[in-house]
């Protein structure tokens, strides 16, 4: 027998470039699974981590290369997903080729530091696979209400009747209007995918008093949900899941909205900020066509009974949205930031 007939050895190559390319496509061109309109993978709480099938950073399947900031934040958070999650849900490594070592880097052109995700071992000289993709990151949006500006449409005149007057500022989310299909998904305001930021400034100067104003205090933030004329208060919204569902700031200090709040006096702060994260809207579970309302309640105390004052008019009657401000595509209400360019690099070995 001739030895060359007996010995047949095949070399099967592991193509790291192909794995790197595939990983680049999964991250840049796919929104992940599950994704909006189901409960998206970046919103799932830690105990539901296993319901994530696949990572993906794109806004939607129709928008390859446009990434969503919330997905970026969850993906590059080194503590939420562990090594095994990465292998199963991003690299899909299986024997005999896996597990792969990886290095993912996202660089943005806005000057923020690069984000990394690495398996720990250093990149070898050779062999390794490499891919680089150009991406853009969807801009964040926010609403700033300066209550000292007399041109704001929600400042109405009402006669203050008592020393202790409560005025309401409702911020409304008409979900049907926000999910307007004429606007491409990458430019939409989608509270299920983006965080919503509401800044209210100068609220102690809203009053143009004839008689002195003693104090203005924020005394409550409540959430309402409903359809048409009937909005009902949602209980337990601002409980303990603070950082996942909302962030609340008085001046520059982060505070909690649960329990008794706002023990501060008027002089201590004049602007407040509320960030509602996508997890909050997932928790509220509004039905199609519903409106969500965030109600800020302000208490005005006057030194003496004033004859006429400008106060915020808004109340809990069904017609409350007449006096509220809509978080919508009106540029005088909401500012949408433009996209940020960047690049994503994947190295596999």
């Amino acid at each position: 027998m001739i030895p060359s007939i007996l010995i047949g050895i095949e070399a099967q190559t592991v193509d790291y470039d192909a794995v790197a390319y595939r990983t680049g496509v999964i991250l840049c061109e796919d929104p992940g699974s599950p994704s909006y309109p189901d409960e998206a993978w970046e919103v799932k709480e830690y105990y539901k981590k296993d319901e994530v099938d696949r990572f993906g950073l794109a806004v939607s399947r129709d928008s390859p290369g446009i990434l969503l900031p919330e997905k970026i934040e969850r993906f590059f958070n080194g503590t939420f997903f562990d090594e095994q999650d990465i292998q199963d849900r991003m690299l899909f490594s299986n024997l005999p080729f896996g597990p792969y070592a990886y290095y993912v880097r996202l660089h943005l052109d806005d000057g923020t530091p690069d984000k990394f995700l690495a398996s720990g071992s250093p990149i070898p000289q050779d062999p390794y696979g490499y891919i680089r993709r150009a991406v853009k990151v969807k801009g964040e949006h926010y609403m700033t209400i300066n209550l000292a500006d007399p041109a704001r449409q929600y400042e109405l005149t009402e006669e203050a009747q008592v020393n202790d007057t409560i005025g309401y500022l409702p911020i409304l989310f008409n979900l049907t209007e926000l999910q307007n299909d004429e606007i491409p998904k990458i430019y939409q305001i989608n509270p299920y995918q983006d965080q919503v930021v509401i800044n209210i400034t100068d609220f102690s100067t809203t009053i143009n008093p004839i008689n002195p104003l003693s104090s203005v205090r924020l005394v409550g933030v409540t959430l309402y949900k409903g359809y048409g004329n009937s909005l009902t208060k949602v209980a337990g919204t601002f409980s303990s899941y603070e950082d996942d569902r909302y962030l609340f700031y008085i001046g520059n200090d982060q505070k909690s909205l649960s329990g008794d709040i706002y023990p501060t006096t008027a002089a201590a702060y004049d602007d407040i900020g509320l960030v509602l994260k996508p997890a909050m809207f997932a928790y509220l579970e509004p039905l199609p066509g519903d409106t969500i309302q965030v109600n800020f309640s302000f208490q005005y105390v006057f030194d003496s009974l004033p004859p006429c004052y400008d106060v915020l008019k808004g109340n809990n009657t069904p017609n409350l949205w007449t006096y509220g401000v809509y978080y919508d595509y009106n540029v005088s209400n909401v500012t949408q930031m433009p996209f940020t360019s960047g690049e994503l690099e994947v190295v596999i070995w």
């Binding site: 095949e10 070399a11 592991v14 470039d17 446009i66 005999p96």
Partner: protein
């Protein structure tokens, strides 16, 4: 006495030996060894990056704005196109050898715009931009990336090419090679 019974034993032995050798051959011939691939597919990366560059340049940064590529074609601004395109092609991946060989400093390209003339119904073209370099060597294979671009009216094309003054889609084709 001598008879032919022993022949059967011998034949059986030879047959058994042949079966064993054949089995050993089958077992050994199914050995596989895993070895890593040895070359980077640099043409694939170049084509992917050129496609990404055109796609990103054709995405407006905010709703209702004009995309960069539309603006460059409308104003026939090859300088800005050059700066924008090479910004994508030239970023280096922090010193990795594969990145350096895929995106060297000397990327050459040639961009052409194809449009349809509604009068004659034919597809015409005009050269839009070329990379500027002293000596251009053409030994490396070229890859192509294309992008269909919406333009709202007549672009600023060079004289000799009169493009219809109407909303239309044109094809921007870029040939890219290392040289």
């Amino acid at each position: 006495m001598v008879d032919d019974a022993a022949q059967l034993y011998t034949i059986e032995g030879v047959a058994a030996g042949v079966i064993m050798l054949f089995t050993a051959f089958v077992v050994l011939s199914t050995t596989t060894i895993y070895a890593p691939g040895d070359t980077h597919l640099s043409e694939m990366q170049l084509e992917q990056m050129a496609y990404d560059a055109l796609a990103m340049m054709d995405t407006p940064d905010s709703y209702g704005a004009e995309s960069d590529l539309t603006h460059y074609i409308m104003t026939n601004n090859a300088t800005y196109f050059n700066a924008g395109f090479l910004k994508y092609m030239g970023h280096s991946g922090y010193g990795l050898e594969a990145a350096a060989e895929m995106f060297p400093d000397e990327i050459q390209y040639s961009a052409t715009v194809y449009y349809r003339d509604s009068g004659s119904g034919t597809v015409e073209s005009y050269p839009f931009a070329q990379s500027a370099r002293g000596e251009i060597l053409g030994h490396e294979p070229a890859v192509t990336a294309t992008q269909l671009v919406y333009i709202p009216g007549r672009p600023g094309s060079p004289p000799g090419n009169v493009v219809d003054n109407r909303q239309q889609i044109v094809l921007m084709e870029v040939l890219v090679w290392r040289g």
